[in-house]
């Protein structure tokens, strides 16, 4: 790859389409029409210059400026056919501090640069100049005076109204997408926007209704390119807005905008952008009600992140208090310190099943006579596996990033690019998958082999490797044993915690290239991708069947049981990189029991889940929509950490959602 780039580097403009190729592949799978346009275009251009600032200038000199109609209130355009050259891994999946662009003009930002590092200084200066250049191009082209004013103010004024503030966020956000960044979070918009909103209302600049309309249009702008923005699957854009949250003196903080954002999500029923609500037992009950009404529509948001659990975990890990209370998340659920960190929180998947099956491939287990011995050997394999992953991560090189460096502390203060370790925090995160399958496998082996002595471990292993063919009785039993992940039973919790604490120990002392630590969590996008072709497992999973989703159960136990279980998992040390309880509810169930369901959610915060999301849909509807997609064009479901149109999902995702919905309903 690098050789190829070197060859093209001599030319000022190169047709290097790593990024554009990505888009093509994805669009090809999901939407033939758009593929047509991209393929037929000869104008896909990628700009390269050794000086990243000049590179950006060249790009922004050439991106297409779209004329906006007089009805439009914002300028937000991304020219996906042009971008900058990124031979190394581009930082993504994070969230800059947008308040910087609200409280500073570009002039102000320039004045903060110092010349202690000439290279950094020049790069950043050119980067700001590139933005000015783009601003000039926009205001020369468009006719809408209000937008012209808002955009041109970015150069030399602070934001003064809500309208301006929203435009500025869109402006920087659009630049991030334009420059190859993916999964761009939006941050705590209720918190950073409230002073503009309050001021506007107080001074009669806009009415509450107009403010709501503005925010609605803002959300629709963000949604506009959602197909191209999507990462692995359609809908996976990482456009997450965090609302609410405890502040440093322990009080829960939310405001009118918190409610407005959630109510608008309910009204729009779009899968993207998406909302995360930071919750606490101190939060007002009516905010939970508004959230549940939004969830009830089935759009899968807001996702809840429990401040009462998460904040202490972040402090213990060593983050500074001020930063901790301002946490948001990466694209899905990995807690992320907004505007402070280079953390790539989903840099690799930690597939707990890989070392488990490996152990059965390589080890002679005929002498193993109890669970402790088995766990001991598993740990040996788990250690090797994790160390290998970390060694692989060490190889990753990051692309210099002059744009992010302006908006992530302390790059400017240190005159150091984010790729050279300029950010305040540089930890990397793994996302764990398949822990449930390992725990259930161990419980089953304990029951069938060690306790009941029905067969030897070798015999059971042989049946497993043959995919349980002709052993339906046994398979059914293995799927229904009493000790299972998701049950609040001491034995299961003990095994799960033993494994994850051990995983922590293995990575605890390792440091990455930028000096940061490693962390992991128990939620991952990979439950289907990592399980394809993966051999059958002792939990009763057949070859190729998906792994368990996040923290969920494969039985139809009460939700309270799952919550109690989740609250007993040990999220301390470095195990806080996203731990989502994920379950299904039928719309009728919430309808019939609305107030009690609010009770349940409020009490679950106290019980102590880490994060929580749910799909509110009946299996009947999903099955109908699988058969007749044209009848359900707007049906939205929750996939791993995002929401998507059901019709856009690959079949295996649809089927897994149906399977899980049916399981949930089987209890009634």
């Amino acid at each position: 790859m690098k050789d190829k780039i070197k060859k093209i580097i001599g030319k000022k403009k190169i047709f290097y389409c790593k990024h554009l190729r990505n888009i093509k592949n994805k669009v090809y799978e999901n939407d033939n029409k758009i593929l047509g346009i991209i393929k037929s275009s000869k104008n896909a251009k990628v700009y390269y210059n050794k000086n990243k600032g000049i590179e950006l200038k060249n790009l922004l000199k050439n991106v297409e400026i779209q004329n906006v109609s007089t009805d439009n209130r914002f300028y937000y355009n991304i020219d996906f056919f042009k971008t900058i050259c990124s031979p190394h891994t581009v930082f993504g999946n994070l969230c800059i501090d947008y308040s910087i662009i609200l409280e500073n003009s570009l002039e102000d930002l320039k004045s903060k640069l110092d010349k202690s590092s000439q290279e950094f200084y020049e790069n950043e200066l050119y980067t700001i100049e590139a933005m000015e250049l783009l601003i000039d191009r926009i205001i020369n082209k468009i006719k809408n005076e209000k937008i012209i004013e808002n955009i041109s103010n970015i150069k030399n004024k602070k934001a003064s109204t809500l309208y301006e503030a929203l435009q500025r966020i869109l402006f920087i956000n659009m630049l991030l997408w334009q420059t190859n960044h993916r999964l761009n979070g939006l941050g705590r918009l209720d918190k950073i926007l409230i002073k503009y909103y309050d001021n506007d209302i107080k001074n009669n600049i806009i009415t509450k209704r107009e403010a709501r309309e503005l925010i609605k249009e803002f959300l629709l702008e963000l949604h506009r390119f959602y197909k191209i923005k999507s990462n692995v699957l359609l809908g996976d854009t990482g456009q997450i807005i965090e609302l609410g949250g405890k502040n440093i003196d322990g009080r829960y903080e939310c405001n009118e905008l918190t409610y407005i954002f959630i109510e608008l999500m309910e009204e729009l029923k779009l899968p993207d952008p998406k909302v995360l609500l930071r919750v606490s037992k101190e939060m007002p009950r009516d905010l939970m009600k508004v959230s549940l009404k939004c969830i009830q529509t089935g759009i899968g948001c807001p996702l809840f992140a429990n401040d009462d659990v998460i904040i202490d975990r972040l402090k213990d890990f060593g983050y500074e208090e001020d930063d901790v209370y301002n946490y948001g998340t990466s694209a899905c659920w990995e807690p992320y310190l907004i505007g402070k960190s280079s953390a790539q929180n989903n840099i690799k998947s930690l597939t707990f099943m890989i070392p488990f099956n490996d152990m059965f491939e390589k080890e002679n287990l005929s002498k193993v006579s109890n669970t402790e011995e088995l766990l001991k050997i598993y740990k040996k394999y788990l250690k090797n596996y994790i160390e290998k992953i970390i060694d692989e991560i060490k190889e990753v090189d990051f692309e210099k990033d002059t744009l992010l460096s302006l908006f992530i502390d302390d790059c400017v203060k240190n005159s150091t690019d984010i790729a050279d370790g300029g950010a305040k925090y540089n930890d990397l995160g793994l996302t764990g998958v398949g822990l449930a399958n390992v725990v259930n496998s161990i419980c089953n082996i304990e029951e069938v082999v060690f306790k009941n002595k029905e067969m030897s471990l070798e015999e059971l292993n042989k049946i497993r490797k043959e995919n349980f063919d002709d052993n339906n009785e046994l398979l059914k039993r293995l799927k229904n044993t009493t000790n299972r992940y998701g049950k609040d039973n001491e034995y299961v919790v003990k095994i799960a915690n033993e494994i994850i604490r051990f995983a922590s120990d293995v990575m605890k002392d390792r440091r990455n290239k930028l000096g940061g630590k490693y962390k992991f969590g128990l939620s991952s996008p990979n439950y289907i991708m990592a399980s394809k072709d993966f051999l059958a497992s002792f939990d009763g999973r057949k070859v190729g069947e998906p792994f368990a989703v996040h923290i969920s159960t494969d039985t139809s136990d009460a939700y309270t049981e799952l919550m109690e279980f989740a609250s007993k998992l040990d999220y301390k040390e470095n195990r806080f990189n996203g731990n989502v309880v994920d379950f299904f509810v039928t719309p009728n169930f919430i309808n019939d029991n609305f107030e009690k369901f609010v009770d349940f959610l409020m009490l679950s915060i106290k019980v102590g889940f880490f994060e929580m999301q749910m799909n509110v849909v009946s299996s009947e509807k999903l099955i109908e929509a699988r058969k007749n997609p044209e009848k359900f064009p707007n049906l939205v479901v929750r996939v791993w950490g995002f929401s998507a149109y059901f019709k856009d999902l690959p079949d295996e995702y649809k089927d897994y959602l149906i399977e899980r919905a049916l399981k949930n309903e089987s209890s009634n």
Partner: protein
């Protein structure tokens, strides 16, 4: 001390106030043809074989273990939640489980029962000491027809009187079954009865057929019943509300 139960179900939202855990005891002295828990009629553990399926209804559990199960969701019992004893006829177990009731009361757990109240008066005396809310079925009040459910209207009325004399909190529940509970005579009796005993609330519900398969596994067939129309439901609600009592249709 051990008891036989068929299930402990957590996160029940229909069996009383708040979030509850419901314990289903095995064993009932009535024989309602519409019963949706046929597996809870016999007092003993029952093994069954049906088609490919082998299974068992009921298991023994010590009072200590049962208490542990009930307390698992303790954190969810705020806002008046707690435990609901159901069945079968749970009151028939009450002299056996008194130590458990004492422990639960000590821990401040709210206790509800779902009962047909056709039980020896002594058990009602025990229950009144511990139970916070009685959910009492009204089935057949017409004495000529009481044999159809193996009932005893005199005993039932005596027990209801006891609860009201004691100022216990009572909610009535009426299953709507045209052939049995909704006959002209019985409806008349029900209204008369409701007028006399003004409960906090009356819930009416249509019977469901979710237990149909369980009947089959036990080698029985669930009887067919006439449909209840929305009009009839509304009419019923109207009649109860006319007495100044809160009436609710429950979709179970």
């Amino acid at each position: 001390m051990k008891v036989v139960i068929s299930n402990v179900q957590r996160f029940c939202l229909k069996d009383g106030p708040g979030i509850r855990t419901t314990v289903f005891f095995k064993g009932c002295n009535l024989r309602c043809p519409w019963c949706c828990n046929p597996e809870n009629i016999k007092f003993d553990i029952e093994n069954y074989e049906y088609k490919e399926e082998k299974g068992v209804y009921g298991y023994e559990i010590s009072l200590d273990d049962l208490e542990k199960e009930i307390l698992k969701d303790k954190e969810y019992y705020e806002n008046d939640g707690g435990v609901t004893f159901s069945g079968g006829e749970c009151l028939l177990q009450f002299n056996k489980i008194e130590p458990l009731l004492i422990n639960l009361k000590e821990k401040g757990i709210n206790i509800c029962v779902e009962t047909a109240l056709t039980v020896p008066t002594e058990t009602v005396d025990i229950a009144m000491k511990y139970v916070d809310e009685f959910i009492v079925d009204i089935k057949i009040l017409d004495e000529k027809s009481e044999h159809k459910v193996n009932g005893n209207v005199t005993l039932y009325k005596e027990n209801v009187k006891k609860l009201f004399d004691n100022n216990s909190k009572v909610i009535f529940r009426i299953p709507l079954v045209p052939e049995y509970t909704m006959t002209k005579e019985n409806m008349k009796e029900i209204i008369k009865f409701l007028e006399q005993y003004k409960a906090e609330k009356v819930e009416i519900f249509k019977i469901h057929r979710l237990g149909e398969k369980k009947y089959k596994t036990l080698g029985k067939e669930m009887q067919e019943f006439l449909e209840v129309s929305n009009n009839e439901i509304e009419e019923m609600i109207g009649k109860i509300e006319d007495l100044g009592i809160k009436a609710e249709y429950c979709n179970i």
